[in-house]
Structures are given as structure tokens and as C-alpha cells.
Symmetry: C2
DNA sequence: CGCGACGTTGAGTTCGGTCAATCAGCGTGG
DNA sequence: CCACGCTGATTGACCGAACTCAACGTCGCG
């Protein structure tokens, strides 16, 4: 039980980045029942149209949400790193509408909907934090529409790497940035709406521009400002730190 | 006041399509304070980075959420028709991250966040309905990533028209489908990630295939099944009717 | 009647896709 | 230890869907 609590901690940390929670509320989240599970790479662990009774939290590895066309081409619509809950929305929408896969062997925590609903019902501020968390993901998805719809391959790829760098919390200053990013070029293609071949060429072009080196599942960004400019990247939409903003607790609306 | 209640009714109807609400809860929503406003076409009525203190509900017209690239190209990331609340998420995220514009002269209702939060705090089931409503929009955005990222121009356009037909509630049987869709070809380009010129050619191609006639801001789909097949369209993700599903009231989780 | 917004069409270009071959790394079994 | 086979990365040659540029048509409206 204690081990499970420490596993939930990153998820709680993520929530409290954007929502204020009392000690009781935090405790309630840490005490959520959870079953750890190892997930094999490239195998659906949630399938579309499946009705599920639990949400999951990524503990280790990288999880992706997939869409598919009739001809079988795939499109990643979201990436989820440790601490995130890819299908938290299933609490209010148990019927899955897209597939989830781990891109590498991953560890997840399965948390029953019943438990999540109980906490949300007992602590409205937690329900609010869940809602807000889902909306953060939605803001990212919105940006992906813009990225995939309107930017050329290099800008698009640069933007993706910038987003991941910030989400992996790898951007400390404006100098060199490095982070592990365990994806293949095929995964990058599925995320950017390009083909694997063109991703390869695009990566090489960005390397030639001395903006990004991606090799051995590790990304190195020699010049953060340069890549951010190349990718038209503005981290604002990721709202990595809004805790200093006003409380925004619905609970306090009653006065 | 009475007039305002009737204007909120379509929004309530939308909520109750997917969430169960008691009479009290419905009444509370209908009694939300709201100011009607006329919105001019093609002018931002919400700008990015603006912190807002109210959400809006579309009463008449068509509202779009826009993203933009550095070079000024625009991408529509969501379309909202009457009864929908384009920025309901602002209740938990007052800082806007994209622009909103009406595509035609539109009427909206502005509802103060304070009032929305008060209702959500007093009736947790309403908070839940709001959350679920936002997640429905998110499911659509997810599909748009797939559409824009992986489908060719014709399939993409066909898919968009199918989605709009269903959301306008124009699909009754599998025969001919007609609905008003007040957008220009430039708007369609911004929604599909194509150029206006290519949208024009794509529309003509679909007309030649006898699948879609779009003229005078009115869409006619002679053969619904045909267009749906052409657009790889499956309405499931729109979840237009899930009320018969289990209650899913977080409130009931306490037992 | 003339202006502006929108729609339509043609000609030429280009970015990214397709097809196909080769290479590199790595785990497995002989 | 090495051959084999698999997955992923890389490269070249060619192709085509969608973009660009530019002109012209059409419609509504002041």
C-alpha cells in the first residue's frame, strides 16, 4: 500500500501544479487504491468502444493515444508521460473512443472509477482538479490540430520536440537542453502526421541547422531559443505553473 | 429573465443528452444569469492570453476557435453551433489560450463564472455535467487531429461535412440530408488545414462524385451512406445520445 | 454603378509521399 | 562465438497531391 502511494505522488504533483488542494484532499488522492501493471510496447491496452471501469496513471514509460483511418494509417493524438492520467476523462465517459498503447514497456497504475468517483464526490475540489487536468490535455490537443494542420514538416517537428522538452521539465535555462524521449521515428511520424521517411529527413535537416539532435532515444537541443523559434513554440498553452493564480476553487464559490 | 431562460434551454438540452440531471439541477441551470450579445462576424470576441470572467453559450450563428501560426495562417480547432458553450472550460481555466470568432453574425449569452461556479458547487452533478460536456468537445478535437493529420483532402472534407450534419441533427434516415452551414470556403480551408483554392477543387470533386453539394451556405448530401463511407465517418465519437447509459453520477458514488 | 468579398479556374511549382534498397544494432539459438 | 532474423534508421529516385500565383467571374450592397 505504501509503495502504491509513492507511485501516485507524481500524479498528485501534477494536479497541484494547477489546482489548490487541502491536506485532506491530497491524502485522499494518495490513498486511492491502485494496481500496478506492466504494459507491453505497441499493444493496445485500451481499445476503442471498450467500456472500462478504471482509469490509469502512467508511472514509467511513454503512453500514446491513437486514432486510425480506414486504410489503417495511425495518428497519435496525445502523448502521456509519467505522472499523467491518459484517460482520466473515462471517469465521466467510460466508453473509450480511442486506443491507448505504450510506446515502450511501461508501468501504469489502474485506479477503479468507483474510487475516483467516490473521492470526487466527497471532495468537490478534487473533481474540479480532475476536470482542470483534463482541460490541460485538451489545450494540448488543440495545439496539435494547429501543428498538424498548418505547419510544415520542420516547424512541426521542432514544435513537438519543444513541447516534449518542456513537459519533461528539461528546460532549465536557455542553453543546451537534453532529455530522454523513448520513441522511434515511426512514432514521430504518427505524432506529426508525416511518414517515417520524411521524419528521418526532417530530423537530419534540423540536425544540419544545429537545432536538434535526436539519436538513441535521446534528444539534445543545443540552442533552446533557436529551436523554439524554428518551431514557433510558446510554452504558454502548457500552463506548467499556474498555482500562483487565483484559487479558482469552485468550492469557494458558495462563499 | 424569462427570455433568457428560453435561450439557455438548448444548452441544458445538450447537457441532458449526456448527463442525468434532476429537476432542481435543471432549474438552477435555466436560472443562470446571462447577458445576450450580438457578435460581429470575423472579429475576435475572445483573444488569446485574455483572462475572462464569463463563459459563453451560442444562441444563434456559428462560432469557431482559432489557432494561429507565426506567419499568420489560421487553423480552426473547433466549431460550435447553437446550444454549445465554446469556452465552458474557462470556468476552471479563466486564461484563454485561443481566439474565438463568430463566422457569421451570431448571438451569444455571456454567463459569469461566479454564477457557473456557484451552481457547480451547489450541485456537484452539474459540475460533472460541465466536465462531461467539455470532454465531448475534446473527443471531437481528437478526431480533428486524425482528420487533418492523416486523411487526404476529399476524405477530410467529407468527414467534416458528415460531422457537421450529425451535429446539426440533420441526419434522420440514410437518404438525402440537407442543412444550413454558414461558412465560406476560406473558413472550410481553415478548418481542414487546406487552402481556399484547394477546398474549392475538393468541393467540386465531391460534387462530381455526387456525394455533396455545398452552395449558398447550404449543404446537400444526396447519399448519406456514400458520403460517410467517402469520409470514413463513424458518428460514435460524437456521442449524441448516451442518456440511456448508466447514470454515471459521481454524486451517487457515496452510496 | 462600382466596390469588396467570395468563388472559380488555369499553369506551374514544391513539399512530402511512395517504392525500394541498404545499413546498423541487437537479441536468439545453434 | 557467430549466423540469422528482426526492427528501426538511412538514402536515392521518382511521383503526385496540394500549394502558389494570377486572373477572372459573380453576387450583394451601399
Amino acid at each position: 500500500m505504501f509503495r502504491e502511494q509513492t507511485n501516485i505522488a507524481p500524479f498528485l504533483a501534477r494536479l497541484t501544479r494547477r489546482s489548490r488542494l487541502t491536506d485532506d484532499e491530497r491524502r485522499a488522492i494518495l490513498q486511492l487504491p491502485a494496481h500496478a501493471a506492466q504494459i507491453q510496447a505497441n499493444v493496445d491496452f485500451v481499445s476503442p468502444d471498450q467500456t472500462i471501469d478504471h482509469a490509469c496513471i502512467v508511472v514509467a514509460g511513454l503512453v500514446a493515444r491513437f486514432g486510425q483511418t480506414a486504410s489503417g494509417e495511425r495518428q497519435i493524438t496525445a502523448l502521456h508521460l509519467p505522472g499523467e492520467a491518459p484517460d482520466l476523462h473515462s471517469v465521466v465517459q467510460p466508453k473509450a473512443r480511442s486506443a491507448f498503447q505504450a510506446l515502450t514497456t511501461a508501468t501504469i497504475l489502474r485506479v477503479p472509477h468507483t474510487a475516483l468517483r467516490a473521492v470526487a464526490a466527497r471532495y468537490p475540489a478534487v473533481a474540479e482538479a480532475f476536470w482542470r487536468d483534463c482541460m490541460s490535455d485538451a489545450a494540448i490537443t488543440s495545439q496539435w490540430v494547429v501543428n498538424v494542420g498548418r505547419r510544415d514538416a520542420r516547424t512541426r517537428t521542432a514544435h513537438l520536440f519543444c513541447e516534449m522538452a518542456v513537459r519533461y521539465d528539461a528546460v532549465r535555462d536557455t542553453g543546451e537542453v537534453m532529455f530522454d524521449f523513448p520513441v522511434t521515428q515511426l512514432h514521430l511520424a504518427d505524432a506529426t502526421g508525416l511518414t517515417a521517411v520524411h521524419v528521418n529527413r526532417t530530423l537530419r535537416a534540423l540536425r544540419d541547422e544545429k537545432l536538434l539532435v535526436f539519436s538513441g532515444k535521446r534528444a539534445r537541443i543545443p540552442d533552446w531559443d533557436g529551436l523554439a523559434a524554428r518551431g514557433e513554440f510558446d510554452a504558454e498553452y502548457l500552463q506548467m505553473n499556474v498555482s500562483r493564480d487565483e484559487p479558482m476553487r469552485i468550492t469557494e464559490a458558495l462563499g
